[in-house]
């Protein structure tokens, strides 16, 4: 797995951890960010995989 995808996955986990401690009025922020980071991690992983295939 490429380092960027791991970094983005880590950020998704940090946001997810913050969901229960965020006050209910703003809980949608870490939820949305966690989802966005997870999607970006998947996109980054797919991008790296595609590049590896082209290189090989």
């Amino acid at each position: 797995m490429d380092r960027r995808a791991l970094f983005l996955l880590g950020a998704a986990v940090v946001c997810a951890v913050l969901i229960p401690v965020t006050e209910s009025e703003h809980q949608w922020v870490p939820i949305a960010m966690s989802i966005a980071y997870a999607l970006l991690a998947m996109a980054s992983w797919a991008d790296a995989r595609g590049r590896d295939r082209i290189d090989s």
């Binding site: 970094f7 950020a11 401690v21 870490p30």
Partner: protein, 331 residues
């Protein structure tokens, strides 16, 4: 309460605001200068104007959070506010010499909380307010980072078939004028309100205003004027260094980073959450870099931001506690 003491603490709060403008101006104009959209002098004027007119756009919810959402308003006295400001300024000066990218906002919260605890114990802390600020210390740079990544990817995707690169860059340079203005607006809106909150706390604690009062217009105008003058005075000296650090940003990246940071500041100002403008723009710049490759990011800078997260509130807290031990008996 002695009117002279009230005026002196208000003066100190405005000085804190002035230094904030002086120090943070580079954040909003460095990319505009490095891409030669504006000359340094013109860029500083551009930022200062938008710092000042932010009072027309944003309310005063962040000010209310600082004045009544961090510690029990009953514990606030001239001595507590003075010690809190000394803690924030003292910590900012310490980190300035150590080269850490400090957050004036977090230093202010740490200072006020430290002085208030020194006076009334830990029971005076408002956990919901501190939790909100604490959560967004981590979330605001991450929010800037996500928005910048999404915006950069979206812009690249939208123009990837366009062959006239010169014309494209001209378009993004014009876009940078607007994104820098938006970031300066967000900076003025969020940071000037912190000073308003401190002044409001002083006026309420000294009996010049009843509890629950709104921020008076003269406080709003003087706080925005102080941050705008700070930007105008010092910004262009600092931007020469900052601009050279961020030259690797292309106009499209600069525009995306500033727009993402501005959107984050608009949201947090609207929600009444004091955040660090420096950390927000740093997160956004990291986001732009991460769209290319992870090694394009200056992880050293990102690492010092994390250190600043960890150290700022305890550092300002300690200085404020020590100051209150000296000035507390006076009021």
């Amino acid at each position: 309460m002695d009117t002279f003491a009230v005026v002196a603490v208000i003066g100190l709060a405005l000085a804190f605001d002035f230094v904030n403008g002086f120090h943070d101006a580079a954040n909003s104009i460095a990319t505009v200068v490095s891409t030669r959209v504006l000359s340094p002098r013109l860029a500083v004027v551009w930022a200062a104007v938008f710092n000042f007119i932010a009072f027309l756009v944003f309310g005063t919810v962040v000010a209310a959070t600082i004045a009544t959402g961090v510690v029990d308003p009953d514990v606030l006295s001239i001595g507590v506010v003075f010690s809190g400001l000394v803690g924030a300024i003292g910590w900012n000066l310490t980190t300035f010499f150590l080269g850490l990218p400090t957050s004036s906002s977090h230093a202010l919260v740490g200072g006020i909380a430290g002085a208030a605890v020194a006076k009334g114990g830990f029971d005076v802390l408002i956990s919901s307010g501190l939790r909100k600020i604490g959560v967004f210390i981590v979330l605001s740079p991450l929010l800037g980072l996500t928005l910048a990544m999404v915006l950069t990817i979206g812009l690249m995707w939208a123009v990837h078939r366009y062959r006239n690169v010169d014309r494209l860059n001209r378009g993004f340079r014009v876009g940078q004028l607007f994104s820098a203005a938006a970031f300066s607006l967000g900076h003025g809106g969020n940071d000037a309100q912190k000073t308003m909150g401190v002044i409001l706390a002083v006026l309420i604690s000294s009996g010049h205003l009843p509890t629950g009062s709104d921020v008076p217009l003269w406080v709003v105008l003087s706080a925005h004027m102080a941050i705008g003058l700070g930007t105008l005075t010092g910004g262009w000296r600092i931007v020469k260094t900052m601009g050279s650090k961020i030259t690797r940003l292309e106009p499209v990246g600069g525009m995306a980073a500033e727009s993402a940071a501005a959107a984050t500041l608009f949201f947090t100002s609207h929600a009444g959450i004091p955040v660090s403008t420096t950390h927000t723009i740093t997160g956004a710049i990291v986001g732009v870099g991460a769209t290319r490759r992870l090694s394009a990011v200056r992880w050293g800078v990102a690492g010092t931001v994390v250190w600043a997260w960890i150290l700022t509130i305890p550092g300002a807290w300690l200085i404020a506690t020590a100051t209150y031990a000296i000035v507390g008996p006076l009021g």
